[in-house]
Symmetry: C2
Subunit: 384 residues, 2 copies
């Protein structure tokens, strides 16, 4: 096991009716900016519950944070924060709203253009406190300090994290997810699955607990993902999916182990260029990554085949093939395609994608930093 530091101070309120718990978590004299996305939280009553819970505070709203939250949109909220002397942020929505709100927590204290937090990895030493009410289980942003922001004008999708951007608290009420569109639920299952795989399917370092936890999360997704789609108001399935997705990226399964993230980095370019949903890029890139990098991942691929898919006998090559095929079948069973051609993206697009990876500094991806641009090109070819 590698040495590690683990610290996750986010307080989780989990379950039915827990939105009311936030009344004790935000100061009575706070000036709160409530952030949200396209307005579904208004339609389904979640926003009303939130506003009722924080009654008495001075409340402003900023809606319209889009999927793959953009710098351009968020800078409008930065203006509100400055003008209204906001001192607490409350994000109500999915990973995009929460990621965007993490940017808002730091942006007022950035030196110069806040985009430098991403483009130049500028360290910011203060942040507005942030709470979240999660309505879409997928990204795990509700219990970590990272965020992904897109600058539309540059077709750039970049990552930042700061110890200051852990949410103070996050509310996870599974009933808020009952009305989600099927597509978003399926995307969430894939997103959480690939988050786990990026931290698990690398090479063994004798990290027994992390492996068992990761396998437990994958097994739960395989069991509960389809159930959630088939029975949208099954509370237990929703609750398990919500807790899995949160745990997948809370830092715990990634502590002390190698991490890959190749699939994410290549996927980001697909979203930036073609607008594909984040999770759909992962479903396309992951099987291709496993095919191209099967030797580097041999030992963990065999463990994955055994412990997640029950493939314990037969030749090693067959078990590895079986695990990759099972992964692909699982995504497709959720209605999520796994090939670039399913989106009309052909071989002609690959040079541009590789060039974008190069432009964004992604020359050496993977758990051993040996996924060169050439390897990424082969992964994209395998994804056609």
């Amino acid at each position: 096991m590698f040495n590690f530091t683990f610290h996750n101070p986010t307080k989780i309120f989990f379950g039915r009716g827990q939105i009311s718990a936030i009344s004790k978590e935000i100061p009575a004299d706070a000036r709160v900016l409530v952030t949200y996305g396209g307005g579904s939280v208004r339609a389904n009553g979640v926003l009303d519950q939130v506003l009722a819970a924080i009654e008495g505070r001075t409340v402003f709203e900023f809606g319209g944070i889009e999927p793959n939250p953009s710098y351009e949109t968020l800078m409008g909220a930065v203006e509100v924060i400055r003008r209204e002397s906001i001192d607490f942020l409350l994000a109500v929505g999915g990973g995009s709203v929460i990621d965007g709100s993490k940017f808002l927590a730091l942006a007022p204290f950035a030196v110069g253009d806040p985009w430098k937090i991403l483009s130049e990895r500028q360290r910011v030493d203060r942040a507005l406190p942030l709470g979240t009410v999660l309505t879409l289980p997928a990204t795990g942003s509700e219990m970590n300090s990272g965020a992904v922001i897109t600058k539309k004008s540059e077709q750039a999708k970049l990552v930042f994290s700061s110890p200051l951007t852990f949410p103070r608290f996050s509310v996870l009420d599974p009933t808020t997810t009952f009305t989600l569109p099927v597509r978003q639920v399926a995307n969430g299952v894939v997103d959480a699955f690939v988050h786990v795989v990026e931290q698990y399917l690398t090479y063994p370092v004798a990290a027994a607990v992390q492996d068992r936890y990761a396998e437990g999360l994958l097994l739960t997704l395989v069991e509960e993902g389809p159930r959630t789609l088939a029975q949208p108001e099954d509370y237990d399935a929703r609750a398990n999916l919500m807790w899995v997705a949160c745990q997948a990226l809370s830092g715990l399964i990634g502590a002390g182990v190698p991490q890959d993230w190749t699939t994410h980095m290549i996927g980001h370019e697909l979203t930036a260029r073609f607008g594909l949903d984040h999770a759909r890029t992962l479903a396309v890139v992951l099987p291709a990554t496993l095919i191209v990098r099967r030797e580097a991942k041999r030992e963990k691929l065999l463990r994955y085949a055994d412990r997640v898919w029950g493939l314990a006998s037969g030749a090693e090559e067959e078990r590895m093939d079986g695990a990759i095929a099972a992964t692909r079948r699982f995504f497709e069973s959720l209605g999520v395609p796994t090939r670039l051609s399913d989106y009309g993206i052909g071989a002609g697009s690959i040079p541009g994608l590789v060039a974008a990876l190069e432009a964004h500094g992604m020359r050496a991806l993977g758990e051993r930093r040996d996924v060169s641009l050439e390897v990424s090109r082969r992964i994209l070819e395998a994804a056609l």
Copy 2:
């Protein structure tokens, strides 16, 4: 799944050489009381590493905190804290030293006799900050807010917890455990195992992640426990054992699920009356608890039989018997006896133990509060 609140702000520094990390975690002008036990940390060099890391602070030492830390001993440290205006506690040792230091964190701010924190559940609204350097993986106290303190004069062993007694940080360096006596290592494996079981082997509430995590911890203990005993300087085995024991009682696997703790409460009386090691009481009481309460635990016992011991076929009764027998064999393989008679404790002691449970308010134990004094008596009889 039940509703839950989860919050664990302890920062973990894990791995070789991590003791040096504490230099950044304690203020430069702090007046630190370093607490420890019988002096093994002095003999094995851990205390020297700690003192080197906090050089420059005003440092006092308080040694001699015993296994099952006592109010009587700890009140001596409270005097030092008051006299020397201590403003930071640094516990160096195992669960007893850490538990005792949690008491020290609150005691200076108690109203009247600090024993009331336990005997009357007095809420204390301030605490000294506490850091820990763990040298014995077992209790999980390094990453939770609970503690168990014994008042020798009353033969009472009671529990408290407070949100203020989470350690600010804990250092887990597996190499500090290389020189532990075999008996302590075996005790630690049993202690961690039973911590998991108390939160897992109850009744199902469709908490998929918590179940998978708990099973992962148990499987890791079954694999790594014997390896740790056979090869004391196997870093990976030590590291896995240290992380399992920490995870077992960090709150995560117990969030949103029923919990039992019958075995612990009956075990505490055995320690208070006969001085048995804490873990040894658990090894005696757990199999008996499973025998007496097999109907109440049927569904989870079958899951445990399947997922931890690989007993998936045959009649249900056989699988349950098999799981209970496997548990007993596992403890005994570690050199830990599993019957009261192994300690010379006979049926004549049972009335006194039941009376002690009654005196300490333990009339309704278990995940459904239906373990009456009569059921506890039957458990003790089954443990003979």
